[in-house]
């Protein structure tokens, strides 16, 4: 190998070793207020090891979970008919969904707490302790999330937002939950794939496949379309969700949640 090729090759190699070493740093690096991002090399290798270890013994624990903490495909808890306190959090999409869910809750004896954080994303929720605080305050025994509409176009989203989705799921912990995916008005960069990968089996409703009539902004479903969306989610819960609860069809179209909390858009 001639000298310039040797120089170029060693340059590329040193750079690779440098970034591989960076990726192994457990806590990342911060300079001033700036977070220095590291590549996912270490993370990917760790995932490969974890997956291969988990495949060695696929036995279920008492909650019906595999060693990797997920339910096996098709697992379902029996329908829970007790009255619930449902915490429903998310972005502006809740404006259309929550009133319809409130009508179901009224009919079924559940208490609905609706928390709208306008323009929010998994990033916002994960970087604050807001979800944990809400759980501490309202003691929900069922959580519904509708997030992802503000993340349709995030580049490299599986890497960028996976930790945030994981953190939110960790905050939810053992509380039965359902994550309603965003109502795509355009192709996304992977938010739905990411949610399908991270959210437990039977706990993710893929809204992107549904048809919506849109309001004037072209993104939010119209009120009527949002109500139909909620109906579809509830129908899906009764047949497919991992944690089905009693949700009787209401006689009225919409209702008001027992409590509504609104947060302004993140700056």
């Amino acid at each position: 190998m001639n000298k310039p090729y040797w120089g170029l090759w060693s340059l590329l190699l040193v750079a690779l070793v440098f970034f591989a070493a960076m990726s192994l740093l457990p806590d990342g690096i911060r300079i001033g207020g700036l977070e220095i991002k590291t590549p996912a090399l270490g993370e990917n290798i760790g995932q490969l090891v974890t997956d291969s270890v988990h495949r060695q013994g696929d036995t279920l624990d008492a909650q019906g979970r595999l060693p990797n903490g997920r339910h096996p495909k098709g697992w379902r808890a029996p329908v829970d008919t007790t009255a619930k306190t449902i915490l429903f959090i998310g972005d502006s999409m809740l404006e259309g969904l929550a009133p319809r869910l409130a009508a179901y809750c009224d009919k079924s004896g559940h208490k609905l707490i609706e928390v709208i954080w306008y323009s929010s994303s998994t990033l916002c929720w994960a970087e604050t302790a807001r979800l944990t605080e809400l759980i501490k305050t309202y003691h929900p025994n069922y959580i519904m999330v509708c997030l992802g509409a503000n993340e349709l176009y995030v580049p490299d989203i599986k890497r960028a937002r996976r930790p945030h989705v994981k953190k939110m799921l960790a905050e939810i912990g053992d509380i039965p939950y359902l994550w309603i995916g965003p109502p795509n008005w355009d192709e996304d960069t992977g938010i739905n794939d990411l949610l399908a990968q991270e959210v437990d089996e039977g706990c993710f409703y893929l809204s992107a496949k549904d048809h919506f009539d849109r309001s004037r902004d072209g993104a939010h479903p119209t009120r009527a379309s949002a109500q139909q969306w909620m109906d579809r989610v509830i129908k899906w819960m009764s047949t497919t969700a991992a944690y089905p609860i009693k949700l009787n069809p209401p006689s009225q179209l919409t209702s008001r949640a027992a409590r509504i909390v609104i947060y302004q858009p993140p700056v």
Partner: protein, 484 residues
């Protein structure tokens, strides 16, 4: 183990591009072997062909065999054309080769487009075919066509050894997105197989780094806002849409030219000069100049293999304008199978005709700073406006973007926009600024990079990769809530 192996098998959703980490890890393995084999021509070619075909397999699966078949057929046809003295035979061989190449391209790229249009015209129950478009098929088809046509016209001698031709057609730096290098420029370099000089190797690295900066930092970051606005134009004001159009104008340049820079840079590292593909197109003072600076290898291909064979400017003004329109319509359709691309091509065709018509009058206007500024503004505005059709998924969306800009424009949104999307605005301003840095300054920087100490090069490379990492996960402010 299975997961590790899966990294090396075809994945429809994850084609291997020059910006992917896997490519650079593989290139690290490729480079010393290539350098070792460089002086042994046949071994070097065999190795590069194997790597290129793997590169193509990783992006398009078993369709890499299509490339092998195309290269063999066209190599054989070119041999036949050269050896045959019978004019009819030569013409038939050329026609068969062209039909084969074009029919494969048409099938993969335009089947669904044609069928959906037929359905709209005559009705029927159309089901789109689940076709994978082999990556780079448009590029290598044009390259193989130019080779066979040039042999037919006697401009070049056919390649004796098939392995040489397979090397040319499968050469991985040009495979995915060009440049559309011609055999007449490439084959002499392959025959000579001169060793790559220090200038070529580090000049190539410089170009690769510029390409990465353009594609993975600038284009990918500013694309986020453009995607949001173009994805839902009715949710945005005229000012926001104008910013999206200005953003997309630079995004597409950084995207296309960035990838070209990487390809040309890799070629240079390997000791091949692949020419220039983009020459600061937004500095153009008229649309004719724009097409001399934009995607040069494509526009010169269209000129040499469509426009001139149609008659060019040799058959009168009316025929010249007709030829221009046909060329630009085909150029539009080449970019994508949709009517929006055709309209984009037609827009440029009309603009070229108008410029040709007005040229005698325009040439009489004295060239001053003011006239040049006006010419630039008119050219840039037209090009940016036509990009709307290139980017928009439907005519309705394109109409919404354009009408939004002209009917719902208020400067009052400027401060809010600057505040909420400050990083995006700064980045866009930097890109526009860099585009107008004089060429000699860029040449000087390149020379200084080549001459710089190894440690300086390493630091610059690390800084660049870190920039890619920083901006890969940086997000532009999403759409703000608007009332029902």
């Amino acid at each position: 183990m299975t997961q590790v192996l899966s990294q090396f098998t075809f994945n429809r959703d994850e084609p291997m591009l020059f910006t992917s980490g896997l490519f650079w890890v593989l290139f690290l393995v490729f480079l010393p072997i290539y350098a070792h084999l460089k002086s042994r021509r046949v071994k070097m070619m065999t190795f590069v062909i194997a790597f290129s075909l793997f590169f193509f397999y990783k992006s398009s699966g078993w369709f890499f065999l299509l490339l092998v078949a195309t290269s063999f057929i066209d190599w054989w046809v070119a041999q036949f054309i050269d050896s045959s003295k019978n004019r009819t035979e030569r013409r038939v061989a050329l026609t068969v080769s062209l039909l084969l190449s074009l029919s494969v391209l048409l099938f993969f790229k335009y089947s669904n487009f044609v069928m959906s249009n037929l359905e709209a015209l005559i009705g029927g129950n159309f089901q789109p075919l689940d076709l994978i478009l082999p990556v780079g098929i448009s590029f290598y088809t044009f390259r193989t066509i130019s080779y066979v046509v040039d042999v037919y016209k006697g401009k070049i001698q056919p390649v004796d050894d098939y392995i040489d031709y397979l090397f040319f057609l499968s050469y991985f730096p040009c495979l995915v997105a060009g440049p559309i290098v011609r055999a007449c420029d490439f084959m002499p370099q392959l025959r000579d197989n001169k060793p790559a000089t220090r200038e070529m190797i580090y000049g190539g690295l410089w170009l690769v780094m510029l390409g990465v900066l353009k594609k993975a930092v600038f284009a990918d970051y500013i694309a986020q806002y453009n995607n949001i606005a173009f994805g839902n134009p009715t949710g945005y004001t005229g000012f926001e849409l104008l910013m999206a159009v200005l953003g997309y104008t630079m995004q597409i340049y950084c995207d296309f030219s960035g990838y070209s820079d990487m390809a040309i840079g890799l070629g240079s590292i390997m000791g091949f000069n692949l020419g220039v593909n983009f020459n600061y197109p937004y500095r153009s003072l008229n649309v004719t100049e724009f097409w001399r600076r934009w995607h040069i290898t494509l526009s010169s291909w269209l000129r040499d293999y469509v426009y001139i064979p149609l008659g060019g400017n040799r058959k009168g003004k009316a025929r010249q304008h007709f030829n221009l329109m046909v060329t630009m319509l085909l150029g539009g359709l080449w970019h994508g199978a949709a009517w929006t691309f055709v309209v984009w091509g037609a827009g440029h065709g009309i603009a070229l005709c108008v410029h040709k018509l007005c040229k005698p009058w325009l040439d009489q206007i004295e060239s001053t700073r003011l006239t040049r500024a006006v010419s630039w503004l008119m050219t840039f505005s037209l090009v940016a406006l036509l990009w709307v059709f290139f980017r928009a998924s439907t005519f309705q969306a394109a109409g919404q973007v354009i009408s939004g800009i002209f009917t719902d424009f208020e400067w009052a949104y400027l401060p809010v926009f600057l505040k909420r999307r400050s990083t995006w605005c700064i980045m866009l301003a930097i890109i526009y600024g860099l585009h107008f840095v004089p060429s000699h300054v860029w040449d000087k920087l390149r020379e200084r990079f080549i001459a710089a100490h190894w440690v300086v090069k390493l630091l610059l490379f690390i800084v660049l990769v870190q920039l890619v990492l920083q901006f890969a996960s940086a997000t532009v402010q999403p759409f703000l809530y608007s009332q029902f």
